[in-house]
Symmetry: C3
Subunit: 315 residues, 3 copies
């Protein structure tokens, strides 16, 4: 595995899942591989789970970690080729990526979508530039349009909790007061499409994900219909793809509540966190024993550890 | 010891003091206990001594440390049960505490008093919520109304420097341009009440601490009278308890100076730091060999190490 | 070596260079020396290379690292003796330096020039105060008027790449939209003056460095004349020394481009980074195989490691 920015980077998903489970069982057994190896974590945006679970994963592997809020603690980066840098940007990503590759054996990057320029977001402009100039493996800590560590975690969590071989998994849009990226939804769909599940997407009209992500996955516009017989309900807000980055109006009836959960096959509830309680989902759903959001957050450590371990083994 | 948020959490103070002294003598002898254990340090407020001494304590024990300015680097936390989170707060403390408990074997939290809502401050609203949802030991790095690591450090420092078995220890209010919490004063009183000392409090009228803290400890409103025969002068500003969070006017004559120190039994001078020179205390007092503020700061490492070690031993 | 704030602190430059080369060859062989030793890194300003390369250097030596954005995460420091601290500053550097010396075995500090008060900048007011009150070795991570780790790195890089025994090294001023400190230029000159090189400085009139730095080093005001037969071109912007801290107007023709590089003896191009592309230097120069800026950044790790190793060996 050369990098981890999308499920497309995974050579063998079954193998990677098995490694994650192994890491969860015996987290410290690979520390000889991480000795004298350094993970750099670069954040352009806020993070709690990703920041700490990825550090923890590296510690479990005996690695050292250097964390940076790169935009606040370092220099403002220029992304454009040929730019005349006489304005705000102080350092070109060409230099930053090459330099950081010399200090780190692996680099994690979090850079959210702008939600302003869809083309650049979906080209993964910043991440791709960084990959282009980096000489070490890059691990996405959520990029403009994907959050593969979350997708991997979600798959691992469903694998652990599924009650039959081909569970029905429903990705449901949920309300949120602010425009959010499509990254988590895109990655969840992509990882579920590779899993032994029956995936259904439900969202209000106008919130269609890009067809290149949705592909053949059925979309049901009636949320209650979609919930029928579901084994897993995965809630997430995202803003519109076309026009780009809009929030809906008066869609609060899309909030997940116990009445909707009652339509399912005693489904587990999932969310990537952070979650706005009583906006995205009712307290009662999150506080029920069927809620998996805390278990998902725990699995973030082992998803990250599996990816880092693959890099160390390939090194 | 389940947590460390107040002297009330300490099962055996003599034992804890002995452990701190042992840690100071041979700091590295317990590293096998900290191996693969992770300390999370969460800061809602500025910190220098606490941030670094607690890290150092963890390193001495062979632990890994993850430090976060949680309000700036993570998500804004919601504390209220049942809140409809459609405003500024992005993540409920329920989730944050449960999630962090999975990445850390112990969590330290610094969250100062608001000085606006006395009831919530004295209920230790944020800290208690965090404890409620955490599944690992919590160590207070200064909460709204207590700073137990400082109280423990101060006791350790007095134990090291006392010249006779029952020294006179004076907690004196001192001037400051801004309203400060009562946390350090509250904890100093609580820890001294458990020690073999004669404790006296002196402050201007109106600066009474809460009676539940002061209890039977004598309060002398005449600072010079209080200083008579003192062996230790502990200076600290705090804002008023009732009405809550006010600074006094024209109280600069409460500054500690050499003339006042001359009234004592060649007393040591103590302060928790940071200290505003020539406002709280005169340069000449801080620069004299009887000043213990640097020694106190050093003992912060061993106070924290003793607490962490107790957690590791109980684990 | 008691401290590392200038080339004047280096007892034996040949020895220090040899240590850096040794560290680069076998980075992990000295880890027994760094065990249970802690490096504190204090930043008053932005940093990418220095922050990460110095951490990496410490990790290579088996040291622990505590990094702080001291002005944002700690307290505002007072530098003046005798100050009545009733304004913005919250902690005196006397206390900060003494306290930090107890938590760290070595302290690195980055504090850029104010560019407002030349006397205080050139007296290295903050750094000297810190050194005065610290009881452990101080390593400059760029102070007001010097960047010795960069100077050392540059010397190491030139040593590695020189094609004959006494190369011609040209320090050339280059354009920049904002006023920058003279620190990198000052240190480059100071380190080159101790090296086996022919050093020439070129800059527009009015951009003379202080004579105490320049000494006998020739200054050529014609950039193209200076570039003749050069083996190394080191580009850097700096603001004026007298009057202090000014930028020039309409000096964009001082940008380094391929036409100017063609005047040299196939010179290597060097820059300390971050660099503003197409303002300081043309893309084509930075993207040519003769550009050493990435190699320089790599050597920052080994320069820092050599300095830290000297401190550990002298301990």
């Amino acid at each position: 595995m050369k990098q981890f920015t999308s499920i497309k980077d995974v050579d063998n998903l079954t193998d990677l899942l098995a490694i994650a489970k192994k890491c969860k069982e015996t987290p410290y057994q690979y520390q000889h591989l991480g000795k004298n190896k350094t993970l750099g974590l670069l954040f352009f945006n806020a993070s709690l789970r990703t920041r700490l679970s990825t550090q923890k994963a590296a510690f479990n592997l005996g690695m050292q970690v250097m964390t940076m809020n790169i935009d606040k603690e370092g220099w403002q980066l220029e992304l454009e080729e040929g730019a005349i840098m006489n304005q705000q940007s102080q350092e070109h990503i060409k230099e930053a990526a090459q330099v950081l590759s010399q200090y780190c054996d692996c680099i994690g990057i979090r850079a959210f979508a702008s939600l302003e320029d869809r083309t650049k977001d979906y080209e993964e402009h910043l991440l791709q530039k960084f990959i282009q100039y980096s000489s070490v493996p890059i691990i996405s800590l959520e990029s403009a349009t994907r959050h593969p560590l979350q997708g991997f975690t979600d798959l691992l969590t469903i694998e652990e909790h599924k009650k039959h071989s081909r569970p029905k998994v429903v990705l449901t849009w949920a309300p949120h007061p602010k425009p959010l990226p499509q990254a988590v939804a895109n990655s969840f769909v992509a990882w579920m499409q590779q899993a032994e599940v029956e995936l259904v997407i439900t969202h209000p009209k106008g919130f269609e994900l890009t067809p290149s992500v949705t592909q053949q996955t059925p979309v049901v516009y009636d949320q209650e219909e979609a919930f029928q017989e579901a084994d897993f309900i995965y809630a997430k807000n995202w803003s519109t793809y076309a026009p780009y980055g809009q929030v809906g109006v008066d869609l609060s009836h899309w909030m997940i509540d116990t009445a909707k959960m009652a339509l399912t096959n005693q489904a587990y509830f999932m969310h990537c966190l952070p979650v706005r309680r009583n906006v995205v989902v009712e307290d009662a759903v999150l506080d029920a024993p069927t809620a998996l959001h805390i278990a998902q957050a725990n699995n973030r450590t082992y998803a990250a550890q599996a990816v880092l371990l693959k890099f160390l083994q390939d090194d």
